[in-house]
């Protein structure tokens, strides 16, 4: 791959946005919130984030989802942690989300609306929730 110029980047973006606009926008806006505190990074949260980006991009869903980074949710022993917020589904925090689990979350939770029961965590730790 040769070095891209900003102009190359702009053209790529415009092309993909045109494709996205052609599609039906119903049910858009899937939020994926990745814990990227010290503990998350140490446990491989960057690999997890990258896996979500690649998987959603490969499925042509890059315009339907947003990825946010957050800090530690107090569940350091279960990092990387990821919260999925989307329409008509409960907000779920998943733990131990490596690249393989990230792919499963896209395929099951996001596309088929099925929960990954083995990975679900209850809620952020008590000392993290605002009193």
């Amino acid at each position: 791959m040769a070095k891209m110029s900003l102009e190359d980047l702009r053209k790529l973006r415009e092309n993909t946005q045109q494709q996205i606009k052609k599609r039906d926008m119903e049910g858009k806006q899937i939020q994926i919130i990745v814990g990227m505190g010290t503990c998350g990074i140490a446990a491989g949260a960057k690999v997890t984030l990258d896996a979500f980006v690649k998987e959603l991009d490969a499925k042509g869903m890059g315009g339907d989802a947003i990825i946010r980074q957050t800090g530690c949710m107090g569940l350091c022993q279960n990092e990387p942690t990821v919260e999925i917020v989307m329409k008509d589904m409960p907000s779920i925090i998943y733990g131990r989300v490596d690249a393989k689990v990230a792919k499963e979350i896209v395929e099951k939770h996001i596309l088929k609306r099925e929960l990954l029961n083995e990975q679900i965590l209850d809620r952020p730790a008590g000392d993290i929730l605002k009193k």
Binding site: M1, D8, T16, T38, V53, G63, A65
Partner: protein
């Protein structure tokens, strides 16, 4: 310590963003022998006393996580540098506004790692690190200067957050959260390493 140097740098650069900086400059210079990094922000800064406490792993100001008793970002830097023949330096100047602190308000973190030392962690994913720190929520300018001078390969480039946002049509949103923009940003940064 962190598994890679870039993981540690992610953590330290995140501190700069969270300090309320409007401009952050990151410089990453790598050769076959060493990796030198400077992270310079114009955020709220620290007093000498606060800076001293920030080097203690069992200290946190408790603002980010009330009740939390540890803060590991800077301690990890010190531990990694000191146990692998590297060097580190942090200087900081406090001020509520830029005017009060003068031109020097903010924090500068400098470090050098000896890549020939067997105990130094691998450099890790440089473009992943850049993408991570360019894509935090919030409005801030980040200027990243990267140079790589190896026998086999030479790279030199600068990226500016504002230019990337503008190029991707996101200047009004001010963030890169949609997956398509993250994918393209990753692709762009990877191409710059060629």
């Amino acid at each position: 310590m962190h598994f890679t140097l870039c993981d540690m740098l992610s953590d330290l650069t995140q501190n700069a963003v969270e300090a309320g900086s409007t401009v952050i400059r990151v410089s990453l210079r790598e050769t076959d022998r060493d990796l030198s990094v400077t992270i310079e922000d114009n955020g709220k800064g620290m007093t000498p006393d606060e800076l001293k406490r920030a080097t203690d792993p069992f200290y946190s100001d408790g603002k980010k996580h009330p009740g939390r008793r540890v803060g590991l970002g800077i301690p990890f830097l010190i531990q990694t540098a000191e146990s692998t023949g590297g060097t580190w330096k942090i200087s900081s100047s406090k001020g509520e506004t830029e005017a009060e602190g003068g031109k020097r308000r903010g924090t500068v973190v400098e470090a050098r790692f000896d890549l020939t030392n067997i105990d130094t962690p691998p450099v890790g994913d440089v473009t992943g690190y850049f993408r991570h720190v360019l894509t935090f929520d919030g409005r801030y300018e980040m200027i990243i200067s990267r140079s790589l001078e190896k026998k086999s390969h030479t790279v030199e480039y600068t990226v500016r957050r504002s230019e990337l946002l503008e190029t991707l049509g996101l200047e009004s949103e001010g963030t890169f959260t949609d997956v398509n923009s993250l994918a393209l940003l990753g692709q762009y940064l990877e191409s710059m390493e060629e």
